[in-house]
């Protein structure tokens, strides 16, 4: 046990004296959380819009004001000719245009069908769709305001409730994904590099000749990184709550336990990488590049897994982050307990045991 502690202390010295390790450990998560949290969002804010008002009556002006007041749109120009609109679209700055035809207000008040033309730049179909949806919503709201009682007979009015995330806040979906991504990258990279470094330096031989058991070498490598990753976890959670307004609706204790399980799983993966690679560069490439892309693709926080072809869905099941993502969403956003996520937890635990066994085995066999 004392030998073990001697080893752990040595690992801490390594971490705190290596600027690169420190940077990965504390710089990377902060950068990634903020970057992904703010940059990766499907919300569109302050889209440039042109309003062409051929009607010029009270109704059209009220609607224009409502559009201008919404956080989604910035009116960049009004009263343009049709040709100017196309020019503006070609320049690419304007995403959307609204045209009120002459007599818009009259048509509306006289109970006739009042038309509004919405033109959107559909070179990016998703943005175009989102923006037209926003506009339709604003118009619906206006209709309600001016005519709250008169219900058109047989009108179906769907009342949508967005559960867990009523504002459709994009970062709510991303933050759990980014948490999974960041923890995965950091844990695998650091551990993988740390064992390979000893191989490169030649100190590994000395350790192997010493009475210190190979299994303990592997475990003693994992312990400091587990502790440091937990600090990382705290930083990430703080950033998520403070900077990105993420709620933690479920039990924090559960969240921590699940995260610890996930971290151990990733550490085991890192240990495995390090026992099969020979240089720090390779280990870093494998764990950073090799893990980054599959994690982004197959965790489900950017591309929905349900839409993927079956073989890809199968691949996604092999990724620990995919299961952790489900767990974090359930605990943080939905406030659910272990009763709902026991299956995912079991999968993670299974993966951890498997990875750790393989990495200790392969570490041992590589010695002889």
């Amino acid at each position: 046990m004392k030998q073990f502690m001697v080893f752990v202390r040595k690992e801490f010295y390594h971490v705190f004296r290596d600027r690169r390790t420190l940077l990965i450990l504390f710089g990377l998560p902060v950068m990634q959380i903020l970057l992904f949290g703010y940059a990766l969002t499907t919300e569109i804010k302050n889209a440039q819009i042109i309003v062409v008002d051929h009607a010029g009556d009270a109704a059209s002006q009220q609607l224009t004001t409502m559009i201008a007041a919404s956080k989604y749109f910035d009116i960049s120009a009004s009263d343009k000719s049709d040709e100017d609109i196309y020019k503006a679209f070609k320049k690419g700055k304007v995403k959307c245009a609204v045209v009120f035809p002459a007599g818009f207000g009259n048509d509306l008040l006289n109970g006739q069908v009042a038309h509004i033309q919405i033109i959107a730049d559909a070179s990016d179909p998703n943005t175009a769709k989102t923006l037209t949806n926003y506009l339709t919503a604003i118009m619906g709201e206006y209709q309600q305001q001016i005519n709250p009682t008169a219900n058109i007979p047989m009108r179906i009015e769907p009342v949508t409730r967005m559960l867990y995330n009523p504002e459709l806040n994009g970062s709510m979906n991303f933050v759990p994904g980014v948490m999974a991504l960041v923890l995965m990258i950091i844990c695998t990279t650091l551990t993988s590099v740390s064992i390979v470094r000893e191989k490169e330096m030649g100190t590994m031989e000395i350790l192997l000749v010493s009475p210190f058991k190979p299994t303990y070498v592997v475990l003693a490598k994992a312990v400091p990184y587990l502790a440091l990753s937990l600090i990382d976890l705290i930083i990430i959670l703080l950033l998520a709550v403070v900077a990105l307004d993420m709620p933690i609706r479920g039990s924090i204790v559960l969240l921590f336990l699940e995260s610890t399980l996930f971290i151990i799983c990733c550490l085991s993966l890192g240990l495995l990488i390090s026992s099969v690679t020979r240089s720090q560069q390779t280990a870093m490439m494998v764990s950073m590049m090799g893990m980054m892309l599959p994690t982004i693709l197959f965790t489900g926080f950017i591309f929905p897994l349900e839409n993927m072809p079956l073989p890809l869905q199968f691949i996604s099941n092999l990724l620990p982050s995919r299961w952790f993502y489900v767990i974090v969403k359930a605990v943080m956003l939905k406030g659910l307990g272990i009763g709902v996520i026991w299956k995912e937890t079991l999968v993670l635990a299974g993966m951890t045991v498997l990875l750790l066994t393989i990495s200790i085995k392969s570490f041992k066999t590589r010695l002889s």
Partner: protein, 247 residues
Amino acid sequence: MSERAIVCKDLTKRFGDFTAVNHISFDVDQGEIFGFLGANGAGKTTAMRMLCGLSYPTSGEASVAGYNVFKQQEDIKRNIGYMSQKFSLYESLTVKENIRFYGGVYGLSDKQLKEKGDELITKLGMEKEAKMMVGSLPLGWKQKLAFSVAIIHQPRIVFLDEPTGGVDPITRRQFWDLIYDAAGSGITVFVTTHYMDEAEYCNRISVMVDGRIDALDTPANLKQQFEAASMNEVFYALARTAKRSAD
């Protein structure tokens, strides 16, 4: 028999069709400085790894410090020290931290660590450098420190794998003073080297060619046997018969 530090009989290691070590037999006495020579690829490292408990022999018998290399690898590891050609201390740890780490790994108590550590630092004259990162020391100092650390737990045998590679002649001479000291205190020294002047310092030497030990005696006897003026000539005469190319 207890005075024998290493006993080796028909020790063999095969990797598939390739016989890296081919039925080597030799004994090393306690306190002896035993030179283990051979061209690159002759099988020195493989033989040494088996004796250190790092890999299992394919056949043959060997005991190190009285322990069987097949069954008692853990006991062997506790009773040997090891230093390799690659510099083997942690560069980002200070001299003192390295001493404490290696001593700690070999199970020395805090009190022993303190005593041994201070003694070692005084002996090497490194009082001023005790708190410096090992990475900033000159190579010769590092090697001397590495050797001293390798025997900090008073092992019965210390294995040195080309310990003086890349070190200047004066430092090499000082290094050998440390080796003589260790041997004087009863530690058996098992050393591989490419420097023939160092071979002359050994009590006895063996020369490996193509996985076999082709010559084993004191330097003086070997020179006589091969009618050579220096160990260099002895080595050339033997190495010329090698069929295996160096890797």
